[in-house]
Each structure stands twice: as structure tokens, then as C-alpha cells.
């Protein structure tokens, strides 16, 4: 037996030597690249996994509830149609191509052009590339509607079912893509800062700030060892995954690497930090020209010969490989399904995403002492010089704070100007409140950050009720970012602590003692000052007149929404919360002749005496406003329309 193996190996070696000439090598390479056939099942599993990943990443961004324009609806419809077809395997390859096109559009237009946070990310790019390459594989020949229909057609015709095999050049490209990711990632790490452990150390200190990691015994050497091991493993994966013999030894270390990384690095997503460990290419059986596979009894629905002693002496080994492949693809699918089930579309941005986030509405607390003037806090020259390398991050931060300050100043000036030139709401009337008030027995709301809480955590439903749907969504996004995010809500010893507002809530309300314990004296003092504050009016949160959706106009100044020729309580509640809807209802009850009444001047238009603005079915109307309240009111209205 051993002698026979040696002889076989010798024959293989001599054949390889004979093949060593350049044209033959090229021919072998070409055969490997575009002339190999293999089972289509791995491609099919890949197709299904990619469709689930596309849903995980984009389904929420493209849901129809948020549709504002026909173009958005069309994009959303295209996305769901393409990815659903990809998942079930209807016109599989075309569906994969269409999915790649939609995802590519999102990457370029939303991500690169519009700069939506997290969209122009290399994980999204990889999804686009992988979906495109999937379209080049025989991904519809297994586990698909296409396959089911083909088998039915064959049965009706009395023919054998079509084989579950195909040319796997697309899988070869996917394999190259995967290796490329590992190799270029390793190349990036072959730098002194990584090899010395400095980069990994800063990453760990960043993610695990608050734990004194550096004080752990052996932390320094461990970081260096981990850095070197990471580079070695990535290099090995980059090269070894292309070599069938090395592959099986690398699959488990690779999976372990990503499995460790996933919970360790909070911003890694399902694709792993380096990219997906995609189901690897099955080792195709290279056949000389003219060779035909042995004809044996075929299993239903499969083009492969049934297992038999005739098939090959190495059948057990291939079986083991098949089991490994199945386990591997099953793992990917399980992970994808888990992520889809959990709605795990956590923003996959590893690089200071919180800095780049668009600050919306009242989420951001007023600048603290350190932000009152960035210039005031200028560091000594020695520090500045040393910090040159992170000047970009500094600039970002400073720009954000300046924008915040400018916004506040602008709002203040606007209020002053408004107060000076017109009767109506007083300058401070309706200004966003600072109060923390009980909304229910065990729930409390903070006007400053427009969010509600119980002792168990933040309460999105109540937030929507009190401050509107938009506030609820903002809170939801904060919660999705996790309790450890800079704007998260964390449970600390039976209390809910909001890092954004720096307030802790217990069963009976905001707790100064607990706030002091968690956020420090300054935060506790701030909270104590706010506890006596009166609730602000729902109106006056801003000055804008805007359209949250087609046909609806809302005015921040009076916290009311209008549709066609009437004030609309439902949209008002959605946009500004229940108190605003109640206030509007009271105004409507007082009748159209009241000082703050709402009335119809002509058919198809509605005017609000409180804001001195009129609307028709197209939105705020300068013509009707001028006719009802004069030219000055029309000009002021025009200034406020966004």
C-alpha cells in the first residue's frame, strides 16, 4: 500500500516536472482559472449568505416607511426585488448582478458622493465586489428556485436532472479577492508601529478605556506577540488559502481569528475586520481533455456520481473535505441568519465614526466648559508640536464644536431678531426646556436630550410619544450603538445612566447621588440645577418650516403640522410629540377666531394665526400668507422655509 502511494507520488512529481515549461504552466494556470468545474453548492450557499448580509446592512436604511421620494421608492424596490430573488435563487445570476449594482449605487452615491456615514466603508465595498463575483459563479444551480424548476422540467421530459456543477471561475476570483484582502492587510501591518505593538496597544486602550490594561502584568510583551502573530496569520491566510493542502490547516485558525476579533472589537461587523471568511473554493477535479467522469448511479438532483468503490481510492479524504466545506458554509450561513434575525446592522465603522456622525436635533448636550472656546484651551506649544500627527482628528472635533456654537448663536440671534420686529411669542417663549419631568409613574423624560427613561433603561416608545417619532428614532440609533458608546444608555447597579445627558435614573426619578457617582460632581451639580426647571413648551424647538414627507408641512416655531387645508393632529404628534398635539387640539377647540386660532381663508388653504403662516396643498404659501398677514409675514415665512 505504502509502495503504491510512493509510486503514485513519484509519477505525480515527474508529471509536474514535465509540466514545468512556461507554456504548460500557463496552460495549467488557465485551466485552474477558467477551465475548472466543480459543485455549484458552495456558490449557492455563498449567494444565500450574501443576500442575507445585504439585508443586514441595508434593509433598514431602505424600508418604505422612510420613503420620501419616488426615486427612493424605486431604489428600495430594486434592492428588495434583487436581493429577494438572489436569496431564493430566482434568475440567480441576474439577481446577484442586480444586487451588486444596487449595492454599488448605494456605495458610490450615498457613501462617496453624499458622504452618508458608514456607507462608503470597505465592508460595503466588499459586499458589492462579492455579489458581483457571485454572479459569475453557477450559483443558481443548487438550492434555488431555478434548480427546482429545472428538475421539474427534466422530470416532465423524462430526462436526468441537470448536474449541480459548473465552471467556477467566479469562485476563483472570490478566492483571489479574499487572499488579496489578507495580503494587503498584512502589508499595511508590516510597519514599525504595528510590529512594535504600538498600534494594537492604542486600539486596545481605545476600545477598553476605563480598564487599566497597561497595568496588567505582561501586557506589553503580549501585545507585541499578538501583533506578530496577527501579521503571520494574515500572511499565511493570504497565501495558504489558495493552496488546497494548506487550506484545511488554515480554516480553523482563520475562523478562530475572526471569532476572537468579532466580540473584541466593538465596531467589527459580521464580515469580520478583514473581510468574510467565505466558503472556500471546492477543490475541482482536474480532468485531462477527453476524460469523462465515471458513470455510476446518480443521485436524484445531483450530477455527481454516487459514492462507490469505483469512484476513487481517495473518496474518504474527499468526504472529509466535503464535510469541512459544509461545516464551513453552514457556519457562515448561521452567522448571517443570526445577524439578520437580530437586525444587527450596527454601523460597521472602525474609524472614529462617532466623530463623523451628523448631530441631529437636540441630541447633543450643550457644549461643556471645555467646549466654550477651543482656542481658550490651547495647549502649550510642546504639546501642540507633539500632537501634529493627529491634527486632522483635532480639526474635525473643533469644526464640530464650532458648528454647534454657531448654530446656537444663530438660533439666539434669530430669536432676538424675531422678538424685536414682531409681536407674537416672547423671545424665550417656547424655548426648548431643560426640565426632567415624570411622564408616567416610573418613567421620566429629559427635555434637553428629548428622551425618556425608566430605571431599566431608555424608553423609545415613550420618547416618541413625548417628543415625536424623530426623537424616538434618534434614541433608537443611540441604543443600537450600544451601552458603551459615547452616547449610549447603560445600566449601572439598577439605574439607567445616559452618557449623552450625563444623568442617571432610578425607580423614583433622576438621581443626583447616582449621577455624581457615575459622571462626577459637575454633572451632579448640573442635574440638581435642572430638577427645579419648569417644563418648556412643545413649540419653539426651532424656527424651520419643513416637509417631513410629501404633502405635509410642519412648523417648529408653533410645533404643528398641516396637510392640505387643515392642521393635522396625527402628524403633529409624530413630529413633535403628544404634548404638541394636545396643544394644537386646544387651539383648534378655541375656534378659528381665537388669537391663536387656525382657519381656512379660502378653499384649499389653511392659516395659523399664532405663526402667521398659511399653507396650501403644496406647503407654506407666500401668496396666501401675504394676503392674510401682510408682506412682512410672508418674507419672514420665506426665510424659515427649509
Amino acid at each position: 500500500m505504502r509502495g503504491a502511494r510512493r509510486a503514485e507520488r513519484g509519477r505525480a512529481l515527474s508529471a509536474a516536472a514535465a509540466d514545468a515549461s512556461a507554456p504548460r504552466l500557463l496552460a495549467r494556470l488557465a485551466r485552474w482559472a477558467v477551465g475548472s468545474e466543480a459543485s455549484s453548492r458552495s456558490s449557492a450557499l455563498l449567494r444565500i449568505g450574501l443576500a442575507l448580509l445585504l439585508w443586514t446592512r441595508f434593509a433598514r436604511d431602505l424600508d418604505w416607511a422612510g420613503a420620501l421620494t419616488p426615486r427612493f421608492l424605486a431604489l428600495s424596490a430594486a434592492f428588495f426585488a434583487a436581493t429577494t430573488a438572489m436569496l431564493v435563487g430566482a434568475f440567480s445570476r441576474a439577481a446577484a448582478l442586480a444586487s451588486a449594482a444596487v449595492a454599488g449605487f448605494l456605495y458610490v452615491v450615498w457613501g462617496v458622493v453624499r458622504g452618508e456615514p458608514g456607507v462608503a466603508h470597505h465592508h460595503v465595498y466588499l459586499l458589492v465586489v462579492a455579489s458581483f463575483l457571485c454572479a459569475l459563479t453557477p450559483c443558481g444551480r443548487s438550492y434555488s428556485l431555478d434548480r427546482w424548476l429545472a428538475v421539474r422540467r427534466a422530470e416532465r421530459a423524462g430526462a436526468a436532472p441537470p448536474p449541480e456543477r459548473g465552471n467556477v471561475w467566479g469562485l476563483r476570483l472570490l478566492a483571489l479577492q479574499l487572499s488579496s484582502i489578507y495580503l494587503w492587510s498584512a502589508y499595511d501591518k508590516l510597519a514599525p508601529d504595528f510590529l512594535s505593538g504600538a498600534r494594537l496597544e492604542r486600539i486596545l486602550l481605545w476600545f477598553y478605556a476605563g480598564f487599566d490594561l497597561a497595568a496588567l502584568p505582561g501586557f506589553g510583551p503580549a501585545v507585541v506577540a499578538l501583533s506578530l502573530a496577527t501579521v503571520a496569520l494574515e500572511l499565511a491566510l493570504g497565501v495558504g488559502l489558495l493552496v488546497p493542502r494548506a487550506r484545511r490547516h488554515l480554516i480553523l485558525p482563520g475562523l478562530a481569528f475572526h471569532a476572537i476579533l468579532y466580540p473584541d472589537a466593538p465596531r467589527a461587523d459580521l464580515l469580520g475586520h478583514d473581510g468574510p471568511l467565505l466558503p472556500r473554493l471546492p477543490r475541482s477535479r482536474r480532468r485531462p481533455p477527453g476524460h469523462r467522469p465515471p458513470r455510476g448511479p446518480r443521485r436524484r438532483g445531483s450530477g455527481a456520481p454516487a459514492r462507490s468503490r469505483v469512484a476513487s481510492a481517495s473518496a474518504p479524504r474527499r468526504d472529509a473535505m466535503t464535510r469541512l466545506r459544509i461545516a464551513q458554509t453552514a457556519l457562515l450561513l448561521a452567522l448571517a441568519a443570526l445577524a439578520a434575525a437580530c437586525g444587527g446592522d450596527a454601523p460597521p465603522e472602525p474609524e472614529f465614526r462617532w466623530e463623523e456622525e451628523v448631530v441631529e436635533g437636540p441630541e447633543e448636550p450643550p457644549p461643556r466648559a471645555d467646549a466654550r472656546g477651543g482656542e481658550d484651551l490651547e495647549a502649550p506649544r510642546a504639546t501642540r508640536d507633539a500632537l501634529d500627527a493627529d491634527a486632522e482628528a483635532e480639526r474635525l472635533e473643533r469644526r464640530r464644536r464650532e458648528a454647534l456654537r454657531r448654530d446656537e448663536e444663530r438660533a439666539l440671534e434669530q430669536r432676538r431678531a424675531d422678538a424685536g420686529r414682531r409681536p407674537g411669542p416672547r423671545p424665550d417663549e417656547g424655548a426648548r426646556g431643560e426640565a426632567i419631568y415624570p411622564a408616567r409613574d416610573d418613567a421620566f423624560c429629559d427635555e434637553r436630550v428629548a428622551a425618556c427613561y425608566t430605571a431599566r433603561g431608555a424608553h423609545v416608545g415613550l420618547t416618541e410619544e413625548e417628543f415625536g417619532v424623530a426623537a424616538g428614532r434618534r434614541l433608537e440609533r443611540r441604543l443600537e450603538a450600544g451601552p458603551r458608546s459615547p452616547r449610549g444608555v447603560e445600566r449601572v447597579d439598577g439605574a439607567a445612566c445616559d452618557r449623552l445627558s450625563e444623568v442617571c435614573y432610578e425607580r423614583d426619578g433622576a438621581s443626583v447621588a447616582r449621577t455624581r457617582e457615575v459622571f462626577g460632581r459637575q454633572a451632579a451639580r448640573d442635574l440638581a440645577a435642572r430638577l427645579g426647571a419648569r417644563r418648556g413648551e412643545p413649540s419653539g424647538r426651532g424656527e424651520a418650516i419643513y416637509a417631513p414627507r410629501r404633502g405635509v408641512s410642519c412648523d417648529e416655531r408653533v410645533a404643528a403640522c398641516y396637510v392640505a387645508d387643515e392642521a393635522h393632529l396625527g402628524h403633529t404628534r409624530d413630529e413633535f410629540g403628544r404634548p404638541a398635539a394636545l396643544a394644537l387640539e386646544r387651539r383648534l377647540e378655541r375656534g378659528p377666531r381665537a388669537r391663536d386660532g387656525v382657519y381656512r381663508p379660502v378653499d384649499g388653504a389653511v392659516c395659523d394665526r399664532l405663526s402667521k403662516v398659511c399653507y396650501d396643498r403644496l406647503g407654506a404659501s407666500a401668496a396666501v400668507t401675504r394676503a392674510e398677514f401682510g408682506r412682512e409675514a410672508a418674507v419672514r415665512m420665506a426665510e424659515r422655509v427649509r
Binding site: A33, Y107, L176, Y187, R199, L205, W206, F352, D370, A382
Partner: protein, 142 residues
């Protein structure tokens, strides 16, 4: 051109793109979003200020200062990010100011290093205490 040749040409083009396009960024220093570089976590933590505070006593001896304890924060992991991981000079000096306010008259010292893309860089601080006004205008103590 036969289908096989077409497939071969397409394969070659795509393989070249897949294998070599990251060089545009990683070797040649391009900055477009297409093609992509494969750099993972390269920016995470850049700007992080790793500071170890000390208080110098009257007799010249120095003792380490736990910033969380000094600020009355019982759970460091729940502390605001500006305290746990100050980033950049502005946040660092704001933290120093908070500490100086909390420890009036203390001679606060620190070993500070900043994470940059090229590795850790030790920050040279003024030789006198951090709370001394001239060293950190408005950023130090009163």
C-alpha cells in the same frame, strides 16, 4: 473571439483589479474611494492621550493619582469618554482643568503620550505643575 478566450480575458482583468488595485492607495498613496485599500483599524485610537497623573507632595515625593477617584467617579468604565479616553490636546487640557478644580493647590504632574499613526509619541509637558496657569492658559487650574 471564443467564449473561453473572452472568459480568460475577463478573468485576467478582474484578477488584476482584485489583486493590485489596493496598491493605488497603499503603495502609491492615492486617496479615492474606488478602488479600496485594505487597512483595518488603522485609524482607531489615533489621537488617544494616554496620561498617567501624579501629585507631587510638599516633600517632593510623588504619588500616583487615580483620575476617576479624584473626580468622584465610582465606575471608570461608565465614565464619560472625555475622561476615560481624552483625545487630543483640547480634551486632555479640559481633563487637567477638571482635576485641578477638584484638587485645589495640588501640584499635578503627568506622564503623557499620544497615539499617532506612527506610534506613541511622548508629550513634553512644562516642567512646573499642570495646574500652574502660565503653562496651560485657561486650561490649568486657577
Amino acid at each position: 473571439m471564443s467564449a473561453a478566450a473572452l472568459r480568460g480575458a475577463a478573468f485576467a482583468a478582474l484578477a488584476l483589479y482584485v489583486a493590485l488595485s489596493p496598491a493605488w492607495h497603499q503603495v502609491l498613496g492615492g486617496d479615492l474611494e474606488l478602488p479600496r485599500a485594505w487597512r483595518m483599524f488603522a485609524s482607531a485610537g489615533v489621537g488617544l492621550v494616554d496620561a498617567r497623573f501624579r501629585v507631587r507632595e510638599d516633600d517632593g515625593r510623588e504619588r500616583p493619582l487615580d483620575r476617576y477617584e479624584a473626580l468622584g467617579i465610582a465606575l471608570p468604565r461608565a465614565a464619560p469618554a472625555r475622561i476615560r479616553r481624552p483625545r487630543g490636546a483640547v480634551e486632555f487640557w479640559a481633563l487637567v482643568r477638571e482635576l485641578c478644580e477638584r484638587l485645589p493647590g495640588a501640584d499635578l504632574r503627568a506622564d503623557v503620550r499620544v497615539a499617532t499613526r506612527a506610534g506613541w509619541r511622548v508629550v513634553e509637558l512644562p516642567p512646573h505643575g499642570l495646574c500652574a496657569a502660565p503653562a496651560a492658559p485657561n486650561g490649568g487650574g486657577r
